[in-house]
């Protein structure tokens, strides 16, 4: 019976892990393996891997992602601090708004940037880095900020009374305390920048290519599947390495920081903090506000003067799209709701499995869950197209294949947010529940889940935003008569003419609004329910 404890623990892990593993196996590993096999056949493409061009591209991919990550942290951490620690009016709004850039299709953001940047900066590395920061600050603010706001502020009070200056507190208390969240946010940001496509294609021009861009061109233009497959493997390997390093950093976070209620974590800013707050919010308004404002302005700039005609056009048929544009809103909401539900289910189970597993097994599942972020969207899309075309697996035409593929990209976020949150739950709470007679399943339900409600809200909101803005795989798989908002925007941008461009801008504004609203709603709902 002593064994049954351990065995039962292992069994629980495997049961919880079963769903995510099956999900990833069927919808990620299988299609990817199929297309890779199609491309590579039996050969080992060392010639592609060690080609000088490949090495150059690989190097560029790595360093631009690293620099982007550092810059994003530099810009995002002050904003994370402000929204996590200071109580100010509009705090909730700022937290919701910061997710909006994340959701916008890269085409839209790149074009907005181009409108603002001087010609000398319109193509090259600098606009790439700027755009990366623009997109990914959301990750830092939500993931690090969310974690920060649940740390016990009395620790900092204690440090202050012991004579530590603000700089010392930052270095010796804040940063180590935040390490799990920092590792998670950095890993996610690095991965996004590493696999960046739209930004590099538009703002980098033909002279700059990341691995992802190269894979895309090889697969879809040159139709050199072998080279594309070879580079996909390389990309996967690199991503796996990043994920492993990140999870080691996250896991070694050491002492559990006592988590206090979120309300207690914020305080009214002191005078110095208020100046800092103004500067931070002002900077954020500039960096994020300007491009977004340019988009909003464009949506009202009709050829006959400022007006709503582009918005009115959303209700009408147009040859650019197979359905009236407002239907794209409907389909986006449908797909994203489904994708969020899938992502939360798979993600929660995966997080529980990872948290309760022993070192090796947990790490394996952790890495597996993150891999979809590192796989080339086009190869995965191709994989879907050729693997799911015959029964019993002929899903190619179903409506739900789109939310499934969107959730593949969202699950890593859910896991990265929930695992540190799970680890931070005082294990004695679970013990107390057990001693009071609750079997392990009930313990999970009555202790873990309520304490996770807030992080679940953050994760759900982010998952919703991600699936709203997902483009790369969606455009492959969505039926043309059921477009999402990003697909519709892209179609309008592809056509010349003021009405097409204006309609695209109007759709962008709608996309931004839907994102901000849904994220704010998720925040609000879980604040009330979670009470932690």
């Amino acid at each position: 019976m002593a064994l049954s404890h351990k065995v039962r623990g292992r069994l629980a892990y495997w049961l919880a892990a079963l769903v995510p593993l099956a999900f990833l196996g069927l919808f990620f590993a299988y299609p990817l393996a199929t297309i890779l096999k199609r491309g590579l056949g039996e050969s080992v493409p060392t010639d592609v891997w060690f080609d000088r061009g490949t090495l150059q591209i690989a190097w560029f991919t790595v360093w631009q992602a690293a620099v982007s990550t550092v810059l994003t942290l530099a810009v995002g951490l002050p904003l994370a601090w402000a929204t996590a620690r200071l109580a100010f009016r509009g705090r909730g709004l700022v937290r919701a708004l910061v997710v909006v850039p994340f959701v916008l299709p890269t085409v839209v953001v790149a074009t907005a940037f181009l409108a603002l940047l001087p010609p000398s900066l319109q193509q090259g590395v600098v606009p790439i880095l700027l755009a990366h920061v623009f997109f990914n600050v959301a990750v830092v603010v939500r993931v690090v900020g969310g974690y920060w706001s649940r740390l016990d502020p009395r620790l900092w009070d204690a440090a202050a009374t012991l004579g530590a200056s603000p700089a010392q507190r930052l270095r010796q208390l804040t940063l180590p305390a935040l390490r799990p969240a920092l590792a998670a946010a950095s890993a996610l940001t690095f991965l996004f920048c590493f696999t960046s496509f739209g930004v590099v294609v538009i703002l980098g021009g033909p002279r700059y290519a990341t691995l992802e861009v190269d894979i895309y061109n090889l697969a879809t233009q040159a139709f050199d599947l072998r080279a594309a497959a070879a580079l996909s493997l390389l990309q996967l390997a690199a991503v796996t390495a990043v994920v492993v390093v990140a999870s080691v950093l996250e896991g070694r976070a050491g002492a559990r920081m006592p988590l206090a209620s979120e309300l207690a974590a914020t305080h009214r800013p002191t005078r110095r903090e208020r100046t800092a707050l103004t500067a931070i919010l002002g900077g954020a308004a500039l960096l994020f506000g300007l491009p977004l404002a340019a988009l909003v302005r464009q949506s009202f700039a009709t050829p006959t003067g400022a007006g709503l005609s582009f918005y009115r056009a959303l209700g009408h048929e147009t040859p650019t799209l197979l359905v009236p544009p407002w239907r794209a809103i409907q389909y986006s909401l449908l797909y994203s709701t489904a994708a969020t539900a899938i992502a939360l289910t798979v993600g929660v189970l995966a997080a529980i499995a990872i948290d309760s597993a022993r070192r090796g097994a947990g790490g394996g599942l952790d890495t597996a869950v993150m891999l979809p972020l590192g796989a080339s969207a086009v190869m995965l899309g191709y994989g879907f197209v050729i693997s799911f075309d015959t029964s019993p697996l002929d899903f190619r035409d179903t409506w739900w294949i789109v939310p499934v593929v969107q959730s593949l990209v969202a699950v890593p976020f859910v896991v990265r947010i929930l695992v540190p949150a799970l680890r931070a739950i005082d294990p004695r709470l679970r013990e107390a529940a057990a001693v009071l007679g609750a079997p392990p399943s009930r313990v999970r339900r009555e202790v873990d889940v309520p304490l996770l409600l807030r992080p679940l809200g953050v994760a759900g909101g982010l998952a919703f935003a991600i699936s709203l803005g997902e483009f790369g795989a969606t455009v492959f798989l969505a039926r043309s008569d059921r477009p999402t908002l990003p697909v519709a925007i892209y179609r309008f941008l592809e056509r010349p003419g003021a009405t097409n461009q204006g309609t695209a801008a109007a759709l962008c504004v709608v996309l931004m609004a839907v994102t901000a609203l849904s994220v704010a709603a998720a925040d609000r709902l879980t604040a009330r329910a979670g009470s932690l």
Partner: protein, 348 residues
């Protein structure tokens, strides 16, 4: 919490009820696989469905090159019944991939023989258009400069620094323009001398969308900074049609001597689930109804003779009389090598 869950469920049900589509059996549906630039108006689509009793579903899978490659990927197990969008530059790749089965629609007799590049009719021509240098009228007028009129202007008038070009490796118009320079300057070294002279001045983008909408000063929306772009000969009509207000003159002009002719083909896919329906669809694509609708939906020209053009085309975008052309066999043989040379000359 329960209330939240219930309302969320209600929302989802409402959205889903909107239209997740009834199951459509293969026999009464025909699927057209094509690229993003395909368009068809609702009345024309209704006409087809009325005429044949079939439901038309359209699958758009990227730009012309991407869509073709995806079709090649699924050769034998196609995603649809008909593929539309092979252009003459990529014809060899399409035919080499054994994508199609032959079908000769009766309406071919109404089409000029010069468009019919595949005499075995694995693919048939549906529309044609041109890729040319397009310029911003107002920009040149304001500075009292003469607009470009030939390739050589890019060098002799220093107009290269005003020009945006697409990468032929990633963009179909970019490829067409590169082929245009070969057609104009000849197949020796001359085109590459031309390119090497302008390489430092031109701006190269990866896609037409980026070039036209973001970098070209003549397009509405974002105001780019360069007034010359590689684009389509029908742009003058498109800009007027989508201007949102009446215009007396088109904001953009075309450099006719730089135009390279494109023909677009369609064919019945091998392994299609509904081959009979596929044939009916190909017939329809060559029908007067569809051909007449081509200009204002796809902004290219119909191949069917005597098809009337809409007035905006007659005023602003009459077809180019003799665009530059290269024999398909030559393109097939040399295209990839030329792309490599271009990349080495311009990008490295």
């Amino acid at each position: 919490m329960r209330a939240v869950a219930a309302s969320l469920a209600a929302v989802v049900v409402c959205i889903a009820a909107a239209d997740v589509g009834a199951a459509r059996t293969a026999s009464n549906t025909v699927v057209l696989v094509t690229h993003d630039s395909f368009a068809i108006s609702k009345p024309v689509e209704a006409d087809f469905e009325h005429l044949t009793g079939l439901t038309l579903r359209i699958l758009q899978t990227g730009d012309a090159g991407e869509a073709l490659n995806r079709a090649l990927l699924t050769a034998g197990h196609p995603e649809g019944d008909v593929f539309f969008g092979v252009d003459n530059n990529l014809l060899s790749r399409a035919l080499g991939g054994n994508l199609f089965v032959s079908y000769s629609p009766p309406a071919l007799s109404q089409v000029d023989r010069s468009y019919d590049l595949d005499r075995t009719h694995r693919v048939v021509p549906i529309d044609h258009g041109d890729v040319c240098l397009v310029y911003d009228r107002a920009w040149f007028a304001k500075r009292k400069l003469r607009p470009p009129s030939a390739f050589e202007d890019l060098i002799q008038r220093g107009y290269a620094k005003l020009t945006v070009v697409e990468n032929p490796a990633t963009s179909t118009p970019g490829l067409a323009f590169m082929l245009a320079t070969v057609a104009h300057f000849g197949q020796g070294n001359a085109p590459w001398t031309f390119w090497s002279e302008i390489r430092n001045e031109i701006l190269v983008t990866n896609s037409w969308d980026d070039a036209y909408n973001a970098r070209f000063s003549g397009s509405s929306g974002h105001k780019g900074s360069r007034p010359i772009v590689v684009s389509y000969s029908t742009d003058p009509a498109a800009e007027v049609y989508f201007a949102g207000k009446p215009l007396a003159q088109s904001p953009v002009g075309v450099v006719r001597s730089t135009c390279f002719g494109q023909i677009e083909f369609a064919g019945v896919l091998r392994g299609a689930k509904n081959p009979a329906g596929a044939r009916k669809l190909v017939d329809f694509l060559l029908s007067p109804t569809f051909q007449a609708g081509i200009p204002l939906t796809m902004f290219v020209y119909p191949v069917r003779e005597k098809t009337p053009l809409p007035s905006v085309f007659r005023r602003f975008a009459l077809p180019i009389a003799s665009p530059l052309r290269l024999p398909p066999a030559t393109i097939a043989a040399k295209r990839d090598a030329w792309i490599r040379t271009w990349t080495d000359t311009v990008l490295r």
